[in-house]
């Protein structure tokens, strides 16, 4: 089998973040000093990659065939070298996207990023109005985000919005779409929470009811049709309510790679916390090309050879790739199992039990746990 080439690199340049969203996909043990309890080779440290290390990663990714880079985190603006990294990515002909909460933007930084050639910004919002949005973020962030959206528009940088949708804000979908129209976004992602990281921990408080999901789907479909050609609406399905799994990553090690703040190269950003027995290589010890082609972590679930039944003999196996390895690991304890969202999975009962609790129980799911942030951070770069 020839190794496919990757198309996109997710550069998680820091886990530091001023917000506390309870659905954050960062690992729950994101404190870099405690997180990697795994075996590590190469003698590298747990500190964030340096500017020069990131520049090397970006160039190696471009050489490998990557066409797109997403600067993400945490909050990528927490790093002072962001514009310099964007510049390096543009020189390598990558399409550069900044995935940000907006906190930390001022006129100078908008200007320096635009001058560096930043191609687009994806700005997150928690809801359409301040009281709920700030409650979700665990910070007074909503008004700042509105101001930042205006600055981005004024600078002429294409703007995408991202809303993570869950039990508490899903009924406000019409207002959320209204805000997106008002802000003049080109693209809007309405992404139902996917249950990894903090969201997995807070699943009971985040998972909407079937009734909420059905209504939201209709609203999203209608808005997509109404705004076609004006705003591109991308609706991420709440997969627990689906009968077949999402084609996660378009297949493991097929199109995407992630490099986390300390240089670990991941087939999927949530893999280290979801699949503890997988060992990840580090850019401080190996070059990206070797890691992509040769490493055990990228090859473990590449292709279809690893699949057990019912995936192995399933006509859908090249379409959904057996779903999500992280979800299989989190829900069944075995990453190679069929994603239990699939109606053909012998473990579908695990998902149904979760849905039953949400839809049938009158018990209050209680409060969510806010994402905590590391206080002792490595120095701002």
């Amino acid at each position: 089998m020839t190794t496919p080439r990757p198309y996109a690199l997710l550069a998680e340049i820091t886990y530091r973040c001023p917000l506390h969203c309870p659905y954050c996909s960062n690992p729950v043990a994101a404190s870099l000093r405690e997180a990697p309890g795994r075996l590590q080779g190469g003698g590298y440290s747990n500190e964030e990659l340096t500017t020069d290390e990131w520049k090397r990663v970006i160039r190696e990714a471009a050489a490998l065939g990557v066409l797109q880079i997403g600067f993400s985190g945490g909050e990528p603006l927490a790093r002072r070298d962001l514009a310099e990294l964007v510049c390096t990515a543009r020189e390598a002909k990558l399409f550069t996207n900044l995935i940000t909460s907006g906190i930390g933007f001022d006129d100078d930084r908008v200007r320096s990023l635009r001058n560096a050639g930043l191609d687009s910004i994806q700005l997150s919002f928690q809801s359409d109005e301040a009281s709920l949005a700030d409650e979700i973020a665990g910070a007074h962030a909503h008004q700042i985000k509105l101001d930042v959206a205006a600055k981005i528009r004024a600078a002429g940088i294409p703007l995408s919005l991202n809303f993570v949708i869950h039990k508490r804000n899903i009924d406000r979908l019409p207002q959320i779409i209204g805000l997106s129209e008002m802000l003049g976004a080109e693209r809007v992602e309405l992404a139902n929470a996917q249950f990894y990281g903090w969201a997995f921990l807070n699943r009971a408080t985040l998972l909407p009811t079937r009734e909420q999901v059905d209504r939201a789907r209709e609203i999203a479909i209608a808005a997509k049709a109404r705004l076609a050609g004006k705003i591109d609406i991308f609706y991420v399905l709440p997969d627990y309510y689906e009968a077949r799994p999402k084609p996660c990553l378009n297949g493991w090690g097929q199109r995407y790679l992630t490099v986390n703040p300390i240089g670990e190269v991941l087939p999927c950003p949530t893999a280290p916390s979801a699949i503890p027995d997988l060992r990840f290589e580090n850019v401080r010890a190996r070059d990206l090309d070797w890691i992509w082609r040769e490493s055990e972590s990228f090859n473990r679930f590449r292709g279809t050879e690893w699949m057990p039944e019912p995936c192995r003999s399933c006509p859908q196996k090249e379409i959904d790739f057996g779903g999500c390895r992280c979800q299989a690991a989190l829900l069944t304890g075995t990453a190679a199992n069929t994603d239990p969202v699939c109606e053909l999975s012998p473990n579908r009962g695990i998902v149904d039990a979760v849905l039953n609790t949400t839809n049938l129980s009158r018990a209050n799911p209680g409060d969510w746990i806010y994402r905590v942030n590391e206080h002792a951070t490595s120095p701002h770069r």
Binding site: Y7, L67, G70, F95, D119, S120, P158, E186, A228, D232
Partner: protein, 92 residues
């Protein structure tokens, strides 16, 4: 959207880049969160969207490929309408 007229000016939408892909030798459209690999026809059409009108693009491509302009207009219109729906082409 309304029918694309001969005087319509199709352009790459803001934030969309047409670029060569050194891994395949083909052309790709890069945009936020997405990549579309263009086939040869689409690549020819998109690379003409640089200030020329729809009518001019059809005429030039028809000459270049010795094709029937009426039949070609249907293909070009379909391709541009599809890219417009995906917000990759805009009309001015």
């Amino acid at each position: 959207m309304a029918e694309i007229s001969n005087s319509a000016l199709p352009r790459l939408a803001k934030g969309v880049r047409l670029q060569g892909d050194s891994a395949t030798g083909k052309s790709v459209l890069l945009y936020p969160e997405g990549i579309i690999e263009l086939n040869e026809t689409a690549q020819e059409i998109v690379s003409h969207c640089d200030g020329r009108t729809f009518g001019e693009i059809v005429r030039e491509l028809a000459e270049e490929y010795d094709a029937d302009p009426a039949a070609l207009a249907i293909d070009v219109r379909e391709t541009l309408a599809d890219l417009h729906r995906r917000k990759l082409i805009e009309f001015t």
